[in-house]
């Protein structure tokens, strides 16, 4: 029973913190984007299992492009974002070519795509940077955090809703746009 009361105590201490909700909103954004990616494919009745691989690959490309341009100071993150979108779109195009032109079951294309992308991202990272696990040696910078004008001054809500990275807002807006 001691364990359970400890868990309840920890939870009750955490749920009152605004940071907790801030973290929820922030960490839901990538999952949300991935879910939207799958949802739009699912509308065409195509289960895109390759989303995982596409995300890994695009993330690597974003970091590489951003740092090669010159990082934070020279607008690297924005160029990285554009490069990632292009790479993601291209990989999605590859999935569709294999699935519809070459007539492979799209679930299996996705699985193969995941294999290729996880392998290729590590391989590329090793060849280009010499690291095998992370790209901490590259200074790629981050996209800006946005403070929403009026909302940021409201005590608790401002802390929760304002000050996220711009892509977080994009993710939530896309839910309604799509």
């Amino acid at each position: 029973m001691g364990v359970i009361t400890e868990i309840i105590n920890t939870i009750s201490r955490v749920v009152v913190l605004p940071t907790f909700y801030y973290m929820i909103i922030m960490s839901a954004a990538p999952i949300l984007l991935a879910a939207l990616a799958c949802a739009i494919a699912l509308k065409a009745n195509a289960i895109n299992m390759g989303t995982e691989g596409i995300m890994t690959m695009s993330a690597l490309v974003a970091v590489l492009v951003s740092s090669s341009v010159g990082g934070q100071a020279k607008g690297g993150p924005w160029l990285g974002l554009v490069a990632a979108i292009i790479v993601g779109a291209f990989l999605g195009f590859l999935v569709s070519v294999f699935a519809f032109r070459l007539k492979i079951d799209i679930i299996l294309v996705g699985i193969a795509m995941n294999l290729i992308c996880t392998g290729a991202s590590v391989f590329l990272m090793y060849v280009l940077t010499g690291d095998r696990t992370t790209t901490t040696s590259l200074s790629s910078g981050t996209l800006p955090q946005v403070a929403i004008p009026l909302i940021k001054d409201i005590p608790v809500i401002g802390e929760i809703l304002s000050g996220h990275y711009i892509l977080t807002y994009v993710a939530y807006i896309l839910v309604f746009v799509m």
């Binding site: 007539k103 299996l108 294999l115 090793y126």
Partner: protein, 399 residues
């Protein structure tokens, strides 16, 4: 006429007896594998600091049966590494072949392997480990471990089957999620129960070396005879016989090819669908137990093994026919062993390229329309040849 026959080249002697489809299938497979290996060569040339040396290790490494260093206690026996990495592929490949034959995309093999390893480890700890200073017969202990692991694997993969039967939940989604449930059950058991050796942070209590030795016979100091490989072979043979030589296997394949036909012909589709996944899970559990017992004398499972996904690759390579799992497993294991041998050399830690090679081969193996023009040409040629033969025969008759 007889002269003409003798001048036929070797190629035609080998493949002349086959029909066009079989010949084309073989050719497409060869082309896919060549494309994959070509990718590997290009990647090695790009990535390696010493490409020729790396290529030598990649292609010839696993054939080195006697590594002279092993006798001195340094390094690995590379041939043994090849066989060792083929073992889980045999199990998972057969399991996926059986499940995918019924068109049940159960991806829960990963979880079955996890639960199999866990339950087997627990049995061995209790019966022949230092947890209670118990001393059972190691052979009996191993056998019991294998049986329990089969039950555990079957249990976990039967959950998506039952969910589908009861509420129509997609097997693919539920089984994928169950993998994580199995992983966290395994973690919970390791971290929060008395399975964990209190002296370590993430290993279970050890069982005696005797249990491991029933699985691994050292032939001298250089060569290891692995029982797991023979169990895997047995599973492949049994799986093939089950799928292609029994009434149940016929029902399963019927269900996969055309569920409505199977239903009206009198195959119990619900029962068969569940049976398939129970069998697949049992084989998965056996795989986990074999890997654990054949390699370690403690249980260690805090991460997913990835063997389940390998099974999907195997199933695709083998075209859902367990008979072909053996060559497919040996091939993939050869590439992997070659890559990891290459990775031990200074300057070449790039064994991830096997994943790229596997993915590329899978894509080109599956592509129905790949080489479609050649396919058509082959059929046309065959038809023309037949027509010519017929015309000749007709001429002979009239003469």
């Amino acid at each position: 006429m007889s002269e003409k026959k003798e001048t036929k080249n070797v190629f035609e002697k080998l493949f002349g007896g086959m029909d066009v489809e079989a010949r084309f299938g073989l050719m497409r497979m060869a082309v896919a594998i060549l494309i994959g290996l070509g990718t590997a060569i290009i990647l090695i040339l790009i990535g390696a600091k010493n490409p020729l040396e790396s290529l030598k290790y990649f292609f010839l490494g696993p054939l080195q049966i006697f590594n002279p260093n092993v006798a001195k206690g340094i390094g690995w026996n590379y041939f043994d590494q090849w066989i060792q990495s083929a073992i889980p592929l045999l199990f998972t490949g057969t399991a996926i072949c059986i499940m995918f034959s019924a068109n049940k995309f159960n991806l829960g093999l990963e979880g079955a392997i996890m639960m199999g390893g866990l339950s087997c480890g627990w049995v061995c700890c209790l019966l022949d480990g230092d947890i209670q200073a118990a001393n059972a017969n190691p052979v009996a202990c191993a056998i019991l471990g294998l049986l329990v692991s089969m039950a555990a694997g079957a249990l976990i993969t039967s959950i998506p089957a039952l969910l589908e039967k009861k509420w129509g939940a997609s097997i693919m989604v539920t089984s994928l999620m169950l993998n994580y449930i199995a992983l966290y059950i395994s973690r919970y058991c390791l971290f929060s129960t008395n399975l964990r050796d209190t002296k370590t942070s993430k290993y279970s209590w050890q069982w005696t070396e005797n249990v491991v030795l029933t699985f691994r016979k050292f032939m001298g100091t250089r060569f290891t005879l692995r029982l797991g490989f023979f169990i895997g072979l047995a599973i492949v043979v049994i799986g093939w016989a089950f799928l292609f030589k029994t009434k149940w296997g016929f029902k399963i394949r019927q269900l996969g090819q055309n569920p409505s036909f199977a239903k009206y012909v009198g195959v119990g589709i619900v029962g068969t669908g569940i049976l398939v996944q129970i069998i697949g899970g049992a084989i998965g559990g056996l795989c986990g137990a074999t890997v654990i017992l054949g390699n370690y004398n403690y249980y260690y499972g805090v991460e997913l093994t990835g063997y389940g996904w390998d099974g999907v690759t195997m199933g695709i390579f083998a075209g859902n026919n367990p008979k072909k799992v053996l060559p497919a497993a040996l091939f993939i294991a050869y590439i992997r062993a070659g890559a990891s041998i290459m990775a031990t050399q200074p300057g070449d830690p790039i064994n991830e390229l096997t994943k790229i090679v596997e993915g590329v081969i899978v894509l080109f193996l599956l592509a129905e329309k790949f080489l479609a023009k050649t396919h058509r040409k082959m059929i046309v040629e065959e038809a023309k040849k037949k027509q010519a033969l017929k015309a000749e025969a007709a001429k002979e008759v009239t003469e």
